[in-house]
Structures are given as C-alpha cells and as structure tokens.
C-alpha cells in the first residue's frame, strides 16, 4: 500500500490496488471547525477526478467535497451519518469518507505529504 496522497482541495487518498479510500485532511478539518453534517452520494455513482460528490457542513461553513480520482463509488462510510465528528477526531482513520474503484490511472497532479505541507503553509 502506497503512502497517503493529497489534493489542493484538501482531500487525501490512499490506494490499495484499484481500491482508493478518500477523506479530508487534518488541515481541512481544523479550518472547518466542528463538522455537524455530511451530504454523501450513494454507492455505484461514477465520478470524474475533480467532480463534486458531496458537502461537508461545519458550524461555520459548508464546503463541497471533490473526488481526487476517477472511479466508481464502492462504499460510503455510513458511520458518518450518525457521527460526523469523526471527521474532526480521526480524519485519516475512522473519518474516511468513501472508497472508489479506480478507473484508469491516478492523476498526475496529486501531492505527496511534503508537497501538501508546503502548499498549506503557502496558504496560511
């Protein structure tokens, strides 16, 4: 299993073969504040890289969620419906959002940990 990769829209992903797990970053959850609701799609939907698939709503904002890769949604984390705060407490673990079956290759513009860190620092 390769390391965690990141997008400039603050999603992370890990790839295990063709199965890609997606969530939002620790930086993103800290910026949003307490997450109170997620609007998530149904499994089976096909997404393009960069396509909006849902909304994360915190006490101070509502932001779109974008798929980092092209693929078909295989699983949605149904624990989030009852416990959206998992996004805050464990963004890289129990706070994962969905799993996709990757269609084709991983996009070239994904960031590794060091690059994402530089990106967020330049945003601050």
């Amino acid at each position: 299993m390769a390391g965690r990769l990141y997008t400039k829209t603050h999603e992370w992903l890990t790839a295990d073969g063709k199965t890609v797990t997606v969530g939002i970053t620790d930086f993103a959850q800290a910026q949003l504040g307490d997450v109170v609701f997620l609007e998530l799609p149904n499994p089976g939907r096909r997404l393009e890289a960069g396509e909006s698939f849902g909304v994360v709503e915190s006490v101070k904002a509502a932001s779109d969620l974008y798929s980092p890769v092209p693929g078909r949604i295989s699983t949605v984390n149904d624990k989030l419906a009852g416990k959206p705060e998992l996004i805050n407490s464990d963004p890289y673990g129990d706070g994962w959002i969905l799993k996709l079956e990757l269609a084709g290759e991983l996009p070239k513009d994904l960031l590794d940990e060091a690059a994402y860190k530089r990106f967020t620092e330049s945003q601050a």
């Binding site: 609701f37 609007e39 909304v55 709503e57 509502a62 779109d64």
Partner: protein, 430 residues
C-alpha cells in the same frame, strides 16, 4: 421632522466641499440628452389634502361586499377575528424589517418558531420554515428543492394547478434549466410531481395516488394545499407527500388586491438541508434558559453561495404572524367549523345553481369542498348581471383552460350568509 433631508444651503455646502458650483456641475459626466431638465411636479400636499385625494381615488373602485363575493381562485374572503390586528399591530411586531439577531429579537424569533410549529402540525410534516412570499413562490421553491435533491431537471404539473403558480414555477425553472411539463405520468427524468389539493377548480384530487406515482418514478411529491381544507382532508404528511406548500392568505389576511400574502412550506426531516429561507430553532443560553435562534443557516446563499437551493433570505414575517394568531385563536375546532360551514354553503349553492335550466356542474362525479366549477350558457352575461346587483360572480376559468369554455368557479365561505346565497340565485334566475 424634515422629510427632505438636504436644504438648499446644505447642498451648496456639499457642492462647495467637492469644488463644483452647481448640481449641473456635479452631473457633468452624464450626457445632456439623458438629463431631465426639470421635473414638472406639483407642490407638496398637506396630510389632510393627501387623505382627501386618496379617498376620492379609492371611491372610484368597485368594492364588492364580502358577503356578496363568490369568487375565489386562490384568494378568499373570510372572517378575521379582531385579535389578529390587535397582535400584528403591536409596535414590537409592526415593522417592515424582520430583526433576526437572537440577542435583541427573542419575541420575533419565538413568533416565527410558533408559525413553523403550527404549519408543521397542520401539514403533518417534520419541519416548516419561517414563511415565503406567497403560494406561487412556495410551489416554485419546493420544485427547486426537488430538482437539487434528485439531480433531475423536469417538474411535472399534474391536474388543475393554479395557472399563475405554474407561470411563476416556469420563471424560476427557466434560469436553472428546469423544464415544466403538464401531465400525470412521471418518468425517470422527473424531479417532482406537483399537484394541488383541492385543485384550482375546487375539486378534491386523489392525492395519495399522485404521491404514489411520484415515488414509483423516484420523484418527490409536492402537495400544494389550501390550509383551511386541512381541517377536513388528510394532511400531506399522512399520505406520504415529501413537501407541502400553500398560500396562507385565508389564515387571517385580507385579499388586498392580491397581496402581501404569505406562503408556507413544510417537508420531511430528510430534506431539511434543501429547505429554502429562514429557519428558527430553539437553543439554550449560557444560563441554560430556552431561547430562539436562526438555525441550519449553512443552507443559505450567504454561506452556500451559488450552490444554495434558493436565493431567498427573508420571509413575510408580519403576515406569518397574522396566520399564527388566526390559527391559535381559532384552534383546531374553530378551523374545522369554518371549513364545515363553507362546505355546507358551497354544496347548497351548487345544488341550487345546477337546478337552473341550462346550468350544470362541470364535473358532477367529483367531490369538492367550498369551490366548484359550473358550466353556464353565457359566462360573461352572468357576471355582468350579477355585478349590476353588487354581486361578484364566479371566476371564468376559460381564460386559462381551453377545454373549460363557459365554466365559472363559484366559492362560498363563512362570510356568504344564507341571504346572500338567495340574492345570488334570484339574480341569475331572473
């Protein structure tokens, strides 16, 4: 108190401060051809003169007395208890601006919360908002909710829905690429089925069947309901409608030439994040006391921007307050009495009118409450004859529906006393 805030001296001072010598100097960038050299306005009038002039203009209107008005079509004359004006006239409420700040506006917010509660109870749905402008925009807002929720682009209008509501729905849908189609069969492209109960002609529709058809196609069911009718008919939540909307004018508001009225919208809990407009919830302050606050505002355009379901960011608060006072004052029993009296009067009238030679009920096999369509030999002649006697006759619905030539819809409410019915029947029979 000066109503014209700038005296000639003040204007001269301001012009001097920016270094121009006259108003013309200030407007030098505007081409001369676009300027109005002088407005030929008469001098101002005193309050007394103004009132006299307005009264003389108003005297040119033909105002039919409530008891002799038999026209509805979406706006109805009903008895309004004095309690409504007594509460809405209180200066704490009687303002054009609705203050939503919780630290300063607990009374206003609580009044809105009560309205939401009453509408949710009336429609048997989970949540209602602070109100919308009127029945027409409520239908349109509900349809936009359904389009966003389902990701589909077609709204099906089933049966006789108020034609002006459909017009507003088309206007809302236009910019968003949402098509409005008339018909009864939803498809996999249909976001919502909109029906009206009772319909625009006053007829009771099979709302559960329309709801079922919508759901089988994966669409939402939007019920546009008459709030008084809910004292007699099943509420939308009971037969599974997803969104209920309607015009609240009958709940304590005068017809007032068509507005301002109040729209209401209620929906299932699962749709609350698509609900347009303002929503008040309860919360607790630092000392643990109950209070009222705007809630779920992340739905709204100041946060969701172009992704928000709706651009509305206010409500018809004073009109909603009138509706709340009306419903609270009348109570469930009072509203039932109003609905029953209206029902009985309308059925008595329908029977008497249908007995006139040449007159026949347009849909004799259909049920109705307090409004019904009847086919007459010459609609315009009937209404002219009635108007000469100071009676406002039925609504000529042929104007909107080609198949309804010669059809008038007559309405009765509790204000049409039995003697008024006699006058109507005697006049058209003569």
């Amino acid at each position: 108190m000066p109503y014209l805030v700038h005296s000639p001296d003040e204007r001269a001072e301001m012009l001097g401060a920016i270094g121009v010598d006259s108003m013309d100097g200030l407007l030098v960038d505007i081409p001369k051809t676009l300027r109005i050299p002088r407005l030929e306005l008469p001098d101002g009038l005193s309050e007394f003169e103004t009132m006299a002039q307005v009264a003389s203009l108003a005297a040119k209107n033909t105002v039919f007395p409530d008891r002799l008005t038999f026209r509805g079509g979406g706006v109805y004359r009903r008895f309004i208890p004095a309690a409504v004006a007594a509460v809405t006239g209180k200066p704490e409420f009687y303002t054009a601006y609705t203050p939503y700040q919780p630290e300063a506006s607990q009374g206003t917010l609580q009044a809105i919360y009560e309205f939401q509660t009453l509408i949710a109870e009336l429609t048997a749905l989970d949540v209602a908002n602070a109100s919308l402008y009127d029945g027409a925009t409520a239908v349109a807002e509900a349809a936009m909710m359904a389009a966003v929720h389902t990701g589909r682009k077609e709204v099906l209008v089933s049966g006789y829905v108020h034609p002006e509501y459909v017009e507003v729905l088309r206007a809302f849908g236009d910019g968003r690429g949402i098509k409005v189609r008339k018909g009864n069969e939803p498809t996999s492209k249909t976001a919502a089925v909109v029906f009206q109960q009772p319909d625009f002609l006053g007829l009771v529709v099979d709302a559960p069947a329309a709801t079922k058809r919508a759901h089988e196609a994966g669409a939402l069911a939007i019920a546009c309901v008459d709030p008084i009718s809910l004292a007699l008919l099943a509420p939308p939540g009971e037969y599974g409608a997803d969104i209920a909307v309607g015009e609240g004018q009958q709940l304590g508001l005068t017809p007032s030439y068509g507005g301002p009225h109040v729209g209401f919208i209620a929906c299932r809990k699962e749709l609350v994040r698509r609900l347009p407009g303002r929503l008040i919830g309860t919360a607790h302050d630092a000392a643990g006391r109950r209070g009222f606050v705007l809630t779920l505002t992340a739905r709204e355009q100041h946060i969701r921007r172009e992704k928000a379901t709706s651009n509305i960011c206010t409500n018809h608060s004073l009109c909603a307050l009138a509706a709340s006072v009306y419903m609270t004052y009348m109570g469930a029993e009072g509203m039932r009495q109003v609905a029953e009296v209206s029902f009985k009067r309308a059925h008595a009238l329908a029977e008497r009118l249908a007995a006139i030679p040449g007159w026949e009920l347009a849909f004799p096999e259909r049920q109705f409450l307090n409004e019904f369509p009847i086919r007459v030999p010459k609609a315009a002649v009937v209404n002219r004859k009635l108007a000469r006697k100071g009676i406002l006759g039925g609504l000529d619905v042929h104007r909107w529906f080609r198949e309804l030539k010669g059809v008038l819809t007559f309405t009765c409410t509790e204000v049409n006393d039995p003697r008024a019915l006699d006058e109507l029947v005697e006049t058209v029979s003569a």
